[in-house]
Symmetry: C2
Subunit: 361 residues, 2 copies
């Protein structure tokens, strides 16, 4: 299934992931954690997965300066030249644009898959099959391709992609991108059969995406295109440290995908989750007969229902008379809140920083 | 206020205190803990308190073999001869009988105050005044004296003492000892003005208590009296290791106090608590305006009421939407239960031992 030497993979690993606080910390965000105790972090799992179809030397990680050591530690096979370090966070569009300019300098025929570093994929073979076919699809077509996931529930936490006609087998023209819907609308989406979850995975030829950036996001291209002479050289990092922070903060979805007219989607069902929230982690886990999920630690439960308990391994949680709560402890923080209050975690993190300081977030 | 060289103090420090699990552990029970962060454990506070009225060399600690090192560490001023080590737990009557035989061998005129090691006393001066007067009272009277606490609420967690006529100022003949009452009865007790909390503190002359043991508890005296020749000598420990475990398991209240006809009580109000439960610790603490008590750690509370949170210092608890719970973490155990379910802690400890092993209890 290994593709050719023109295939590249860009893994985006710079996120902070505060929605999993206190488990995910600014100093050790979600992608670096081994949620399920498999022995490999989400980033490592992502790298392992893609290295089965992409030449290892063509896999790049884009992350933030502050995570450089963590990436090197977790992925010791990577050469330093395979780690692109953003001096500051500017959302996905500038990130992908830079990675594309960088790859174009190395190989102007490159076909690229761009993937988050912190998603879960359970059915690897099906996934890699879709990736291989997708790389083939974008090679000469001048089309941007996104990966749509067959929804299995009216999820309100994801964006949706509405498909139009099927162009060739399992490649559909995209009709619309839709932001996270309300529950009622999500139910309509699910029943319609026309809407698919937006996975945040993209495939394209390097020239196709850079044409799109230059046409649709000139405010990003204007900053990064002038670096063409230095990409892939020792001067690249200095150029980026100066010019990358001047890029606007804009996502690839809003900046490119929703505007472009050559966007396609290929569909799959491969046990995918963006692991975006404690709730999504709960849904992926295996509850006991009372609906309680215990991760990493041990637990004794009395008169409890539908809780999610995540303490460091070796710990015992004894819980009596609790229903529908998240109990998460990591390091110096214990969080107890209703599972459906997890949207408030950002507020907790903010308050914790004010009350206690940086080492608590 | 220092009394004479015939005054002795016996501090009982062998309890396991599982009611404060997971904070109190078999390897580090309640008396060795510094609950309020004062810098001194409850045992140390007890020693400090009595050393103001009792010659330091006359203060003895009775504890279990397994806590010998802890006692030596926390009370380095004690000579080894001041630490009596029980080879096994046999409740308070054999414990006090042995201590009395031991002291009689050292000083046949001794007047003794016996005290638990894990109680809290806030008004020290009033307390020591009562102790000094009590030691005077028991010196030549041939009477057993117990300390009654003026109740301030219809507490169902304590035993009560009913008083009869006042013999001399603040010394009353005891009418009855009563076990922990139901709430309705506790209310009647409180209103009557005749009932006082049984503090578990006793004062007596050494010959008075040994007469009582030999008359009322011959099954204990038969085992321990034959050691008279070795008490206070290097052979004492060997004798005790053989004979102490053959004593019946019986409390001083049931074995002596409820049967004897020479029992008196002196009353006081000195901010006393037996710290018997998390609930009693809550009552003694200073809740915030929502009724939440946070001990040792820091907390951020949202939409919470009447909780008690005790995590190790340096930790932050973030709690949203919880009412009336105990959240206690120590070492490798986190306990979350309703404050009024704390009677179930013994069951939790038992289950934790079965599931996880000795190092979790």
């Amino acid at each position: 299934m290994v593709t050719d030497n023109n295939s590249y993979c860009v893994i985006m690993g710079g996120g902070i992931g505060s929605r999993f606080w206190p488990f995910s910390r600014k100093s050790l965000p979600k992608q670096f954690l081994d949620f399920f105790g498999t022995g490999r972090s989400l980033l490592q799992q992502t790298y392992d997965r893609f290295s089965k179809v992409i030449p290892k030397e063509n896999i790049l990680i884009v992350t933030n300066d502050i995570y450089a050591d963590l990436v090197r530690e977790q992925l010791p096979d990577l050469a330093d030249s395979q780690i692109l370090l953003e001096p500051t966070r500017r959302n996905t569009a500038p990130c992908m644009a830079w990675a594309s300019y960088h790859i174009q300098a190395l190989n102007p025929q490159a076909n690229i898959v761009v993937a988050p570093s912190d998603h879960l994929i359970l059915k690897e073979e099906e996934f890699l099959e879709v990736i291989s076919r997708g790389l083939e699809f974008v090679k000469d077509s001048g089309k941007l391709l996104t990966l749509g996931i067959t929804p299995n529930r009216p999820e309100t936490g994801y964006g949706y992609i509405q498909i139009d006609g099927e162009e060739e087998e399992n490649f559909y023209k995209v009709k619309t991108f839709t932001e996270k819907p309300e529950l009622e609308l999500a139910r309509v989406f699910l029943e319609s059969g026309e809407f698919y979850w937006n996975s945040g995975l993209f495939l394209w030829n390097v020239n196709t995406i850079l044409n799109a950036v230059e046409t649709l996001l000139p405010e990003v291209a204007d900053k990064l295109a002038p670096g063409r002479d230095v990409y892939g050289t020792p001067e690249e990092k200095t150029f980026i440290d100066i010019h990358f922070p001047t890029c606007p903060n804009v996502s690839i979805d809003i900046g490119i995908m929703e505007k472009a007219d050559n966007v396609y989607v290929t569909l799959g069902d491969f046990g995918w989750s963006d692991l975006g929230t404690w709730g999504s982690l709960y849904d992926l886990s295996d509850p006991d007969e009372k609906g309680n999920v215990t991760l990493q630690c041990q637990s004794l439960m009395y008169d409890t229902k539908d809780n999610m308990v995540v303490l460091p391994s070796g710990k015992l949680a004894v819980i009596d008379g609790l229903e529908g709560y998240l109990v998460a402890e990591s390091n110096n923080v214990l969080l107890i809140c209703k599972k459906d209050k997890e949207h408030a975690i950002r507020k907790y993190v903010n308050d914790a920083q004010i009350k206690m300081g940086e080492e608590y977030i």
